[in-house]
């Protein structure tokens, strides 16, 4: 990339005067110091919610899916809504690392590590839902084509649900490998700094004996690039396949061809919202203001506008084509969404997803951190409603009026959902304490070119 003389037009990505050593110290600081009260209390709170959620899951497994509020008409509701919501959130990490690499956006380096961590934890949460709603969970291994004694009965590879199994497991494991390969050099940095012998042993193990040789760095960059290239179509395919769970059917409101790219746009949208929610807290608590600047937040907000608008265009396209098609079932499904018994869900979705991000057109608002935080929460909620609207409103009116029904969640529905948020935050807080939250090595590669002022290290041996 070469070193570029400083350009007044571009805002610096790293504020203040930083040396390479300062980057190491700043990012390792939370790992090296004792956990503070704020972190401990947040972790306790998350853990309580997580334990409650696990209790609910155990109750569900013991009692059966009848403890959910499903009925004969609405036979898929919060379970699959939560699944799609979590998978969607899990799309930002890979997008930031892979797609922004293609666009040569260097600001991604401040957020990619945490976004990828979030991706992995979100996908774990997502995978929980199909696993627990499979009913006979002790037969769960049967989603994989293993030789079996049932007269060699195989899975149905024509089924989008089986495609999902492959998509989610591939996405999870590939994201994990991608993330871990990037973490190894940073673990080596911690290993070479940390004082406590136990921690040193653990980080030595995690660092895989990395010593930063030129040959290794060469391969490292090559592997990162290839994995980014693979992850880009992967991230598109995963949410497309999730959308096909609905779109391959013939249910009005589910079957529409725009679903795959529109789900991808929606996933990126919700993923960035969650990244914003988490990063805005993290930059404050960890004092990372020099690395995650207002400029970074603004960039993310622009992506929120773009993806939010894409989702908006898709909503309107669906609505328009439902009318244009002249198919009465299709037209009714959409009319019913907007004006039927679930109007409140539809308009919550519209307000949160389409209208609220448009406020970011105003520069003052998109550079305001508190406002951004509020909108990010709005989007998180809106994207949950989007999936709820798609799934429940399309189901709650059968073809016969006798099958018309309404869905009421039970305490188990709510408990399992809230519980996964608790588990997610436990994982994320543990990550934030013990892992480098910014890619140390990568940030150093752009330090000279993009920092406000580069400082020569003062941590050097004397000649």
């Amino acid at each position: 990339m070469g070193h570029i003389s400083h350009n007044n037009f571009r805002e610096p990505l790293i504020l203040g005067e930083k040396s390479y050593h300062d980057v190491t110290v700043d990012i390792c600081a939370p790992i090296e110091r004792k956990p503070n009260m704020l972190w401990a209390s947040l972790l306790s709170l998350a853990a309580i919610i997580a334990v409650w959620g696990i209790g609910n899951i155990l109750y569900l497994l013991g009692t059966g899916i009848g403890s959910w509020g499903l009925n004969n008409t609405v036979d898929w509701a919060w379970d699959i809504t939560n699944f799609v919501w979590w998978v969607g959130i899990g799309h930002a990490g890979t997008l930031i690392s892979a797609v922004l690499l293609l666009f040569r956006q260097r600001w991604r380096m401040a957020i990619n590590r945490s976004a990828e961590a979030m991706t992995i934890f979100a996908v774990v949460m997502a995978a929980t839902f199909p696993a627990i709603h499979a009913g006979r969970y002790w037969l769960l291994y049967f989603v994989f084509p293993l030789p079996n004694q049932f007269g060699s009965l195989w899975q149905n590879f024509n089924s989008p649900l089986l495609w999902d199994v492959f998509a989610i497991s591939t996405y999870f494991s590939v994201s994990l490998v991608f993330w871990y390969i990037g973490l190894i050099p940073d673990f080596a940095t911690i290993r070479d700094r940390i004082k406590s012998p136990t921690a040193k042993r653990v980080y030595s193990l995690l660092a895989f004996g990395w010593s930063g040789r030129a040959k290794h760095w060469h391969r490292f960059e090559m592997v990162s690039l290839i994995l980014a290239g693979l992850a880009t179509p992967l991230v598109f395919s995963v949410h497309s396949i999730v959308s096909m769970d609905f779109a391959t059917s013939v249910i009005p409101g589910w079957h529409t061809t725009i679903f795959p790219p529109y789900f991808v746009a929606g996933a990126v949208f919700s993923g960035f919202a969650m990244v914003l929610t988490l990063m805005l807290i993290m930059r404050k608590v960890y004092k990372l203001e020099a690395y995650i600047t207002r400029g970074h937040v603004e960039m993310m907000n622009i992506i929120i506008i773009v993806t939010g608008s894409l989702v908006g265009v898709a909503y309107l396209t669906e609505l328009f084509v439902a009318w244009y098609s002249g198919v009465e079932y299709e037209s009714y499904a959409f009319l019913n969404r907007a004006t039927g018994p679930y109007w409140w869900a539809y308009w919550s979705m519209m307000t949160c997803n389409v209208i609220s991000p448009q406020l970011f057109w105003i520069k003052k608002l998109r550079t305001n951190l508190i406002f951004t935080f509020i909108i990010s929460i709005f989007v998180n909620i809106g994207m949950w409603f989007e999936r709820f609207v798609i799934i429940v409103t399309s189901l709650h009116r059968g073809h016969l009026p006798s099958t018309w029904s309404y869905f009421y969640p039970t305490f188990v529905d709510i408990g399992v959902y809230i519980g996964t948020i608790g588990i997610f935050f436990v994982l994320f807080l543990l990550y934030a304490k013990y892992f480098p939250v910014l890619p140390i090595a990568e940030v150093k590669t752009i330090l000279k070119a993009t920092a406000e002022k580069f400082k020569v290290s003062d941590n050097q041996p004397k000649k």
């Binding site: 570029i4 293609l102 061809t257 725009i258 790219p261 265009v313 396209t317 244009y324 002249g326």
Partner: protein, 392 residues
């Protein structure tokens, strides 16, 4: 450095355009179709070359909006391609007028009495679409799209020729407005001009599918043009990394197009409902080899031959692979329009190829003319230096 549009190139293009005219006459005189063959091909080729300009304009605006630095040195190439839009707009208007004046039967819904109850041509489903598919509204939309695009292409060009930092900053703001309008218009124009040919049929993805196609074709054209200029020794500051990035765009957009093509096809194939599946039955019934061939060529060829780093910098390979998929994307447009207008009678023969070459020659002529009107090198731009140091 200036590009000189010399007589040798002009002569070649003139011969091709003449070929286009001769082919047009043959198409018009085709007895079996009563001139429809000519009008179908006019729309196919007219839309194809227009959309190349539109794709370039979109890409130019995208570079502004993302404040991309690498592409600054290639700005003139993008602008010259986008400046075809005014000419393309005329072609689109002629093609659409043929429907309104009942010279052609391209648009089923423009048929006399089709929305009139009691008329022998009455079609209830099409009549249900009258709120959107009616002549005044249709023309209003068409003129708004074309007017918007023409206005933006001239504004961007004018501001770019000023070579000022302040004008660049303004273009960044304008590009955001353009992208919003484009986001809506790119979908609706594909519904209006193409999807409404098969009036009964509908697909929510159609707009993005057409968009993915022309975005890719525009990048293919601009890549080849850049490589050709580079081989002539023009664009001295453009290095292999720039070419690599353009090739990467072609590679990525080929993937995007294939993804959208497959998503639309697979979902309709899978759910197999009569309202939708007729579209593919028509196409796989009469145009099976072309359908599968186009998908295979546009997907597999760039995927295998433009995957490696070296391939993305190999000028010869870039040119021949690009040429093939360029034709592939033209055939894609052909398959969007022909089955709905000529049904089983459509074919790709000398007439179609001749008209295609004629339109492309006209397009290239206009682009090169515009290219020769401004110096190729950028004088003053906040990212000029960054673009010159683009190495990886």
């Amino acid at each position: 450095m200036q590009f000189i549009f010399n007589n040798k190139i002009k002569a070649v293009l003139a011969v091709l355009m003449l070929l286009g005219v001769v082919s047009s006459v043959f198409a018009f005189l085709d007895h079996a179709s009563h001139g429809q063959r000519f009008w179908s091909n006019f729309l196919i080729d007219g839309f194809f070359v227009f959309s190349l300009g539109l794709g370039a304009l979109f890409f130019l605006a995208l570079q502004y909006a993302t404040e991309a630095a690498w592409s600054v040195l290639l700005k003139r190439v993008f602008e010259a391609t986008a400046l075809f839009i005014p000419v393309g707009a005329v072609l689109i208007i002629i093609a659409l007028l043929s429907g309104t004046l009942h010279l052609s039967h391209t648009y089923h819904w423009m048929l006399e009495g089709i929305m009139q109850k009691g008329h022998e041509n009455y079609d209830a489903i099409i009549a249900g679409k009258a709120g959107y598919l009616n002549q005044p509204f249709f023309w209003l939309r068409t003129l708004v799209y074309l007017g918007t695009f023409i206005a933006f292409v001239y504004i961007f060009r004018k501001r770019s020729l000023l070579e000022e930092v302040a004008s660049y900053k303004g273009s960044v703001k304008l590009s955001a407005i353009f992208l919003v309008l484009f986001g809506v218009f790119s979908s609706t124009l594909s519904w209006d001009w193409i999807m409404s040919i098969d009036t009964h049929w509908f697909s929510t993805l159609f707009g993005w599918y057409v968009f993915a196609g022309f975005w890719c074709s525009a990048l293919i054209f601009m890549l080849v043009l850049t490589v050709a200029l580079k081989m002539q020794g023009l664009l001295p500051n453009v290095n292999d990394s720039h070419i690599h990035d353009l090739s990467k765009w072609v590679f990525a957009l080929s993937f995007l197009w294939s993804y959208v093509w497959f998503a639309q096809f697979m979902l309709i194939w899978y759910s197999d409902i009569p309202e939708e599946v007729t579209y593919y039955q028509e196409r796989f019934g009469h145009y099976k080899v072309l359908m599968l061939g186009v998908f295979a060529v546009n997907f597999i060829l760039p995927m295998i031959l433009l995957m490696s780093r070296d391939a993305k910098r190999n000028y010869t390979r870039i040119i021949w692979v690009s040429s093939i998929i360029f034709v592939g994307h033209w055939l894609d447009v052909f398959l969007m329009i022909t089955p709905g207008t000529l049904h089983e009678k459509g074919q790709v023969s000398f007439v179609e190829i001749g008209m295609f070459l004629g339109f492309v020659a006209l397009f290239v002529w206009v682009v090169l003319q515009n290219l020769s009107k401004a110096p190729l090198e950028i004088q003053n731009h906040p990212f000029k230096e960054e673009s010159e140091h683009h190495h990886f």
